[in-house]
Symmetry: C2
Subunit: 499 residues, 2 copies
């Protein structure tokens, strides 16, 4: 061998999320509690509420200076329905059966969808909405029609996924299921989290901010019995009699982890995070043998609308061919855009529907012309490729149908009013927004599972530290992560408290 590989050093840091501490090495217990919750975001707050309600002592450790986690930077939208419809769905005439919700979520979960988890959620999502209201989260109760990335009005109910789009609409009756906390402007998540965190504290959860969890503590049988937390610069040994709950978010801001586990997400320049999704919760779970699943999956949205008129445009690739029904959820469209050959894709529009995307107004206009053949030439596409695509689309659209990609009728309109343009969604021009979906493998109860699928005693996870309902980039819908985090955060809090 001409190359000598130098072995890496063997000296890890004193306490790291990747290495558990043995209980024999604990000098003293600084804090004793029934349940230790790591992270005070959507999952952690709901876990704390349920664990306190069930009578357990609860300490919450939040790395940030303030509560709320990434959820407080979100739109505050929760994906719920089923059981005939939530109060708000029913008031606005949308019936929503549990089976339709179940079928949609199973499709949205992709090849790895977890039928047991989806079933529990579908059966209980509507009452979960009532529960959120009962915690004090305000929902105005109004319906906002149309297609939005996130509402800037204070309305409640909106279409937030691919429900009305092919192929989802062919198997599950569509209904709007995004339910947004009442707030004007961007960022209803702030309201949602203020209420949930306040509720947890009112119920007696002891909350430590600026508190970084360093390492899990295990006994001889690998049971998790506590956690080391750094508070005010000092290591505190926390005993958790009933369990430790990892609700510490995903790993999108940890670029090393993204490169290692979800390298596809490196194509996305923007992160959807409050800033602390560093994967430490997931790494702590792995340190005691917790299995991770679907770590490669991520949300990747390309907010090419509003204005919603742009949804009437068509995406083409470097072959001049369409590749997606453009009325699918923007995160699904995003994944299809990112995987096109040579990283090239354009949105074709005509004068009637043109508008600058509100979220990326400086989008590159790659070509403008009086005819589609001019656009085709300007983009350097093979002769007659784009022209054939647009001609076919226009002919079908005039007939009110899209036999190739099944875009819904209300978004079909021939692109015939010159001038025409191609907006660039090529790598380099587009700004994709990402968060990670993979995480610890858990039961719906939040129990973390090892490589054999057996629970690790004393360890629970929820929210993006776990792999929950969102586990397939192409299937995500807005509100699914908050719905999952709040609902399964509750389950984990309950399961630990009842232990």
């Amino acid at each position: 061998m001409s190359t000598t590989l130098s072995p890496a050093t063997d000296t890890p840091p004193r306490h790291s999320p990747a290495r558990p501490c043995r209980v024999e090495d604990v000098p003293q217990w600084d804090i004793e509690t029934d349940v230790a919750v790591i992270g005070f975001g959507a999952a952690g707050s709901c876990a704390a509420i349920e664990a306190r309600t069930a009578g357990a002592d609860v300490h919450v450790f939040e790395v940030a200076a303030a509560p709320g986690g990434s959820a407080s930077w979100s739109g505050g939208e929760v994906y719920v329905g089923g059981s005939g419809g939530t109060r708000v769905q029913r008031e606005h005439g949308f019936e929503d059966s549990t089976e339709d919700l179940y079928t949609y979520l199973m499709m949205a979960g992709g090849p790895g969808a977890d039928a047991e988890r989806v079933r529990v959620y579908a059966e209980n999502a509507a009452t979960h909405f009532d529960w959120l209201e009962a915690q004090g989260v305000p929902f105005k109760g109004t319906y906002l029609p149309g297609k939005w990335i996130e509402p800037t009005t204070d309305d409640t109910l909106l279409w937030s996924g691919s429900e009305a789009a092919w192929p989802f609409s062919t198997r599950a009756k569509p209904a709007p299921r995004g339910h947004t906390a009442q707030f004007k402007g961007w960022g209803g998540g702030k309201v949602l989290m203020e209420k949930l965190c306040a509720r947890a504290e009112a119920l007696g959860a002891v909350v430590h901010c600026n508190a970084r969890a360093l390492s899990l503590i295990v006994d001889k049988t690998n049971r998790v019995v506590g956690v080391i937390v750094r508070i005010d610069g000092a290591e505190r040994f926390v005993r958790a009699r009933k369990g430790v709950l990892l609700c510490a978010g995903g790993f999108i801001v940890n670029r090393d982890m993204v490169a290692r586990f979800a390298p596809g997400a490196l194509a996305c320049s923007e992160v959807v995070s409050g800033g602390n999704d560093d994967g430490s919760g997931i790494r702590m779970g792995m340190s005691v043998g917790g299995a991770t699943i679907h770590m490669d999956q991520f949300f990747a949205t390309i907010p090419f609308f509003p204005p919603e008129s742009l949804v009437k445009g068509i995406f083409v690739n470097a072959r001049g061919e369409r590749f997606i029904n453009e009325d699918a959820y923007h995160g699904r469209v995003g994944h299809y855009v990112l995987r096109q050959p040579e990283g090239k894709a354009w949105l074709l529009v005509d004068n009637e529907i043109f508008g600058r995307p509100v979220i990326q107004p400086d989008i590159e206009v790659a070509a403008v012309g009086e005819s589609w053949s001019e656009i085709e030439r300007e983009l350097g596409l093979p002769a007659d490729s784009l022209v054939h695509t647009v001609t076919t689309f226009n002919r079908h659209a005039t007939e009110g149908r899209d036999p190739l990609f099944h875009k819904a009728t209300n978004w079909l309109r021939p692109l015939t009013e010159a001038p025409f343009a191609a907006l660039s969604y090529c790598i380099g021009d587009l700004k994709a927004h990402a968060f990670t979906m993979g995480g610890l493998h858990t039961l719906p109860s939040g129990e973390v599972l090892d490589a054999d699928g057996q629970p690790i005693a004393g360890l629970y996870a929820a929210g993006r530290s776990a792999c929950g309902l969102p586990r397939w980039g192409e299937g995500y819908s807005s509100g699914m992560s908050l719905g999952d985090s709040t609902f399964f955060g509750r389950q984990a809090g309950l399961a630990a408290a009842r232990r």
Copy 2:
């Protein structure tokens, strides 16, 4: 909550791969060695050879009754080149620079390609071939032109990947790099493994067959110091002074693990395995905090040729559109076929190139007709979709070019000789063959890394128990797994022995 979640039971089996044993609980050491190798396949045999050559005591534990692992059921093809070419490449006029091999392997590794690993391999692959010959593996030294899934002649050198196909050929000068052990018929892997295993034994490695590794043994610092093995029905405690090497294969025969970690592979009905790729090596690594990467990735081939004339056909989907340059590696084509909408794809052929695929002769002929519009109607495709695709392809092929999919000139021929046919590669009709590519995260030295990227002292992995060169289904080439397993098995053996 209307649903009560029942927590799972807490009683795991006494010893399981997913739970390490503490050294305090070891009653006695039944076997003491420097290096314990789990699995006597491609990686394990080469690890044993190098560790013995470096002077270490080596015990090998193989779960099967006979040595060889899955490699002995393979074609016995090793993907090597670079350094100007192997002896055989040079003899047949193929120069192969290290940079071209490096570039190709980086492309083949996909978004998660490991530059350090690829660099080490590219620089040493040609001498690795010499090393294999020096161990006694016979290579006839002849070149077999054409396009094969696996040679049935006893020739050495063949084109075994996507080297000559777009987009690979645009960035790396192509060369044939598959080097096959001399054997007539299917299954040169038998010869390869007989030689390597015999060599390891001749060097003094002590080999235990029918020996199932149950659980790793760790000390207080989480250092791996041994392994529990069941031999002849009894648990044996094996002390490994220098390290335990996990060379126990992938997880394709463990359907629970496939469903959990690589659910996309469930679409493949056939496994590529000697039968013991049960993931136990990976699970043992996870049990001590080893990180896994790219667990969702898998090899999925659809052996639609030979006869190689079929490569001149074109694949279309339910939109009547092409989706891949058909001269790409069959495993790459396989992944594209599997992801088509509604799981539908057909290979279009004319009378001139028709032949029944040798490996799936009972392939469903979904349509036969005197014109392409007849085929289009029989398949139920949108009017003028398939006809336009074939017309465009034929026009370009007549001109000797494929501006849309960049199929290489030698595979371009217009499909104009009636009758025409469509062979079904729809889900249900196709038989895809799969193995898993995800595994433990390691350094090129084989050291297993934890969730923070730090080595776990005393633990090494190679072959499909690790995530090596093959880590992206769309980029695999025949011989890459054996090349990786034998080469990085050697590195792990060396690194452990030198510890």
